[in-house]
Each structure stands twice: as structure tokens, then as C-alpha cells.
Symmetry: D3
Subunit: 125 residues, 6 copies
Amino acid sequence: MFSVTVRDHMMIAHSFHGEVFGPAQRLHGATYVVDATFRREALDADGIVIDIGRAADALHAVLGGLTYRNLDDEPGLAGRNTTTEVLAQVVADRLAEALPAAGPTGLAVTLHESHVAWATYERPL
Amino acid sequence: MFSVTVRDHMMIAHSFHGEVFGPAQRLHGATYVVDATFRREALDADGIVIDIGRAADALHAVLGGLTYRNLDDEPGLAGRNTTTEVLAQVVADRLAEALPAAGPTGLAVTLHESHVAWATYERPL
Amino acid sequence: MFSVTVRDHMMIAHSFHGEVFGPAQRLHGATYVVDATFRREALDADGIVIDIGRAADALHAVLGGLTYRNLDDEPGLAGRNTTTEVLAQVVADRLAEALPAAGPTGLAVTLHESHVAWATYERPL
Amino acid sequence: MFSVTVRDHMMIAHSFHGEVFGPAQRLHGATYVVDATFRREALDADGIVIDIGRAADALHAVLGGLTYRNLDDEPGLAGRNTTTEVLAQVVADRLAEALPAAGPTGLAVTLHESHVAWATYERPL
Amino acid sequence: MFSVTVRDHMMIAHSFHGEVFGPAQRLHGATYVVDATFRREALDADGIVIDIGRAADALHAVLGGLTYRNLDDEPGLAGRNTTTEVLAQVVADRLAEALPAAGPTGLAVTLHESHVAWATYERPL
Amino acid sequence: MFSVTVRDHMMIAHSFHGEVFGPAQRLHGATYVVDATFRREALDADGIVIDIGRAADALHAVLGGLTYRNLDDEPGLAGRNTTTEVLAQVVADRLAEALPAAGPTGLAVTLHESHVAWATYERPL
């Protein structure tokens, strides 16, 4: 099994609903350093899982739809807690839509919210 | 599949038994930077795998029982080589006991002993 | 010359005024991983620049006054662009007030806004 | 399940064939920071997956056969694109040959080509 | 004193002349993760040392003139050992030329050639 | 001004004297990830501050005299608190003795005791 990972980031504002979140119920924000990992059983004829430049561009485009925004105001995310876990899924699902069916068969997206906490969502492609 | 990881550290002294360990048979020590990863098939109603604050507190409490100690003198670890692998299991098992049954279904604990070596233990919850 | 550095973080929302900021004029947010470096010409009788635990507590307390907030609404920061540079100075100045005069003679605070950008402010103590 | 990882690096020149590679079709180079992860269901009598010193030596020897070379001129790699994915497999396969059959049952090799891109190859041992 | 740092990278091939370089006299390569630090005594009216986006663009443009190349064949670098130190100076000097005179008064460029070695060049602006 | 840095590590046991150290008065240990930075106004004829291989060997030899030991029992360190700051000075001074007078004119040694704390000592050469 092979995989390729590319890293980028986004900077967003949001707030959470639920007592479990404590002070994070207030409007605050985060830099998410985002790793997108593409998995594939065998390499293609060029010897790659996916072109790193193309993977990086796709990730950058997906993050471009979220960064520098207050996620509390984003229609597509309304009524949801945009936790690190939820955002990992949002990024992975949008990335899956942005890429053609052929090639990688699995995708994992990790969002680092700080140097001491991160979350991952994995799905097939 | 989702996961959430929190990071903390501990600073311990110990020595190893067995020729394979070479100079590490002498009393020495280590800082272990510890990552605890909680896995779960689906998010809960709040949109999380586990509350990051609660996970961090649980990890900190477990490491509090090991840090600033000479592990050669710890009753619970007597007669064992407290290698990075063994300590990853000790931390994971204590963390599993400290958390209620509901929620995450898997746990992985990684101990980084330096910038060039680390070990992981994975178990169900 | 000696120095000691401790690391912590904060997660805030804010927006910027000025065309130079482009999309960052919108309400967004950041995780700042914060390094506070204390400088001193010679060590004290215990062999330290400053107690690492005390330095970490002081930094945590200062960041506690900023984290999980929308800085656009903070009275003490009203009318200012809370850029990474400005916040490095705010953290350094509050840290300087929180610590007694004796001991370290210099302080540098670095705020990492992502894996590819950070800012530092240095001042005497 | 346990694992142990050791890290080392190599510095090579190479070029790629295929339009997908764009400017990387020119002769260029890379530092690969290489992580080799050894997996094993249970620890041995010493409490380890594999001796970290021995694992590090084996990795260093394998990388010694690649580093400070132009891979375009290496007989064993002729006619292949030495992409990060391909090199991860080359390192893993050579490492598997260099280690005796007993012990770890799985191996993963990750090559970091920069702070924003890396690739992994996993195989049984 | 304030500073702002931005990070990018380049991937090059080269060889060195001189016995001190041992196997690095052969054609090989490197990924350089490059940090450019801009220093300034006081912030401008926007509260910044330099716009991070503009600094990142300038660094990316300078690295674009070096990456994916064999530096042994670059006219501007002919007859020089393109060591990490020398390249730090080349990047800093080109960056200084690319930026207008107003603003930052100092510049430091660090090139990380691996996880265990890096070099820095500092100059006034 | 130029500088070159090399990184290595050591793993030691020790205990501290003085109430300020709290639980660190007990026998415990640390991994110190050690960065040695050599400074020099101008490069030599080969285009370097110091040969990175030679700098790495010198650092490794100095750390070899400290690693895998209980520093409380080391004659050369008797009666001193081997804090991170003190050990940074010990490493720097031993490194200065190990290197000939010609070449670099300044040295800084940083010891990282965890992912959230480190100390530096700087001296002329």
C-alpha cells in the first residue's frame, strides 16, 4: 500500500454549541494545518499515487472555500458544530468531489488545531 | 473513521536489563513526548470523538503517575524493562481504565523518545 | 548569555482593517503557538534563568486573558489591528508586568500563526 | 499491535520522465527525511519490537547506498522514475532484505521530501 | 524589535569541490526548507513589519529561480560551492533586491538541509 | 553574519536540589535534543562556516560523554544542579575545547527538554 500526503492550512473563526465545549462556546478561531493523505494499492505508470502538485492544488482550492471566514455564517455548515473532527470530514468530502474517480482509493484528512491536538477523518475514494 | 489526538510529556529515569541494550543498561532517562489517539466510527451528537479538554486531562493524569520518577523503583513496573514500547502500553492501558466505556472504540499511544525514534501501541477500547 | 523558552497556545477570532490584508479583512481566526524566551546574563544560585514551571504558568495566565475570544470585541485591543506582530508585543508586555523585576533581563515572544509564518517581538525586562 | 520508528535522511539528485512532472523533469534533487516503522503483534522477551540501535543501523546502511548520488545513474534504478513513492518502496524492500526473518511482521517507510509533502509504502515482513 | 518570518522550500541538485566535502563532492541534491525573517524596529501604520502575503510571494519568486535545477549549471553560481551557507546568502541578497528600500531594516535567511542541519545568513536591508 | 547548526541528542538521569524544582527534586530523567550553532563573520575558502560532518562528529563526541548516565554520579558535575541551562553551558564549553581555535567565532547550544521547553547558552569561541 502506498500513500502521498500534502500539507496546507486555513485560518477560520467559529463558535461551538454545547456545555462540553466550555469557553469554546464563545466566538474564537483556529489555524488548521491540514494534511491530506491519498492511498492507493499500486502506483500508476508514472510511479506515483497522485501528482503532488495536483494534490496540493486541489487541497488549496478546497481550503480556499473555508479560510478567512467565520464558519458560523457559512450556509453549508449552518447548524453544525464545526469541530476539528467535523471539519476534517468536510475537507475530505469536498476533496473527494474535486478529484476524478480514477487513481487513489482512500483518503485521510488530518487537521492540526495546535501543537498539542489534532483530528483525522478517513474515507474511501 | 474519526480520531482525535492530544499530546503531553513525561520525564523519567530508568535502566534496562539485557545485553541488547548496550549503554542503556546504565541508569539514564528520557523525556517522552506522548500522543494519545482516540478512534471512533462516528461522531457523537456534539460532533466530537471525545472532548479534547477531557482527553488532555485524562492523559495528563496518567502521565502524572509516571513523570519525575525513577521507574526502576515503581512497584507497578518492577521486573520489567520499561522500554518505549512497554511504556506506550502502560500509558494506553491506564488511559483505557481512566475513561468510561462509552465513546471511542480504539486507542493508540505513541511515545517519542527523541527526534529520531518513537514507538506506538494500539488497542481496542 | 542564557535563555529559557516555554511554549503554549491560544485560539482567537479577529479581523483586520486595511487593504493590505486582503481576505484577512473578514472575520477569521488563528491558533497562535506562543514561545516566550527569557534572557539573562548569568544563572541564579539554583542554576536557572527562571523556573520553567513558573514561566509556563505566567505565560498560560497571560494567554488565558486572550484565548477563546473575538479580539475585535476586547476593550484593551480596540482600534488596533491585532496582527501577529502586535499580539506578540501584547503578550510580551503583559508577561513583563506579571513577573517581578528581579531575574531575567530580556524577553522575546514568538507567535506562530501557521507552519509557514510567525512573528517575534523582543524587549528588555 | 506495537511499532517502533527510527528516522534518518539521504540527499540525492534525480530527474523524472513524464509531462505530469512539469519542472521536475529537469535534473534537481531532494533531501528525504526517512522514517522506518517496524510493526509486531507482541513484544519479545526484552520488551521490544526491534532494538532501536539495530534498526537505526540497518536504515543508515540502506540509505548509505543511495545518498550523495545522482539516482539517474544508479544501475538498480535505471529506467524508473525515482519518485518519493518509488523510493519509499526501494528503501523498504532493501531494509526487509537486510533484516533477518524473525521479529517484526510489518514495515512502513515514509519519505518526507519537504515540510509540505511526504509519501509512505507499507509491506509485510 | 519586531520580526516576521515566512517559510517555503526548493529542491536542487549540485556537487561540491574540496576534499572536506567527502561524498558530497559527487552530484547529489537537497530539499532546502527556507525561512526568511524580516526585522524592523517599529511597526508601520497597519501594525505590521511587512505584509506576510507579500513577503511569502517575494520568497517564492526568489526560490522559483533556483528550484528544480542543477545549480552546477547555473551561470550566476558558476565556480562557487553552493553550500547551505552560500545559498542562504544568495537567497537573502536576491530577496533584498526584490523588495523596495522602505520597511524592514534587517533580513535573515535560514536554509534547513535536513532535520539535523541548517545554516543562516543575516544582513541589513 | 553566517551560522551553521547541527542537531543530536542525549538521554540522561538526574535530580535537582532546591524547593523551586518541586517534583523534579526526585530522581528523574530527560532526553535533550541538542542544537549546536557555530557563528562566523565570513565563510572560508570552501564556502562554509565549519564542515557540517565535522561539527556533527564533535557534538556527538561531547554528548557521548554525558548520554546514558546518571549525572548525579558524574565527577565533573558534582554539587551542581544539572538544569537545562547548566547543561547547555557544559555542552558548549566542552565543544569549544574540542574544536581548534581557527574558524567560527561564536557558539550557541540549545537543549530541548520537551516539545514545550528549551534553554540556550551562547558564548564566543
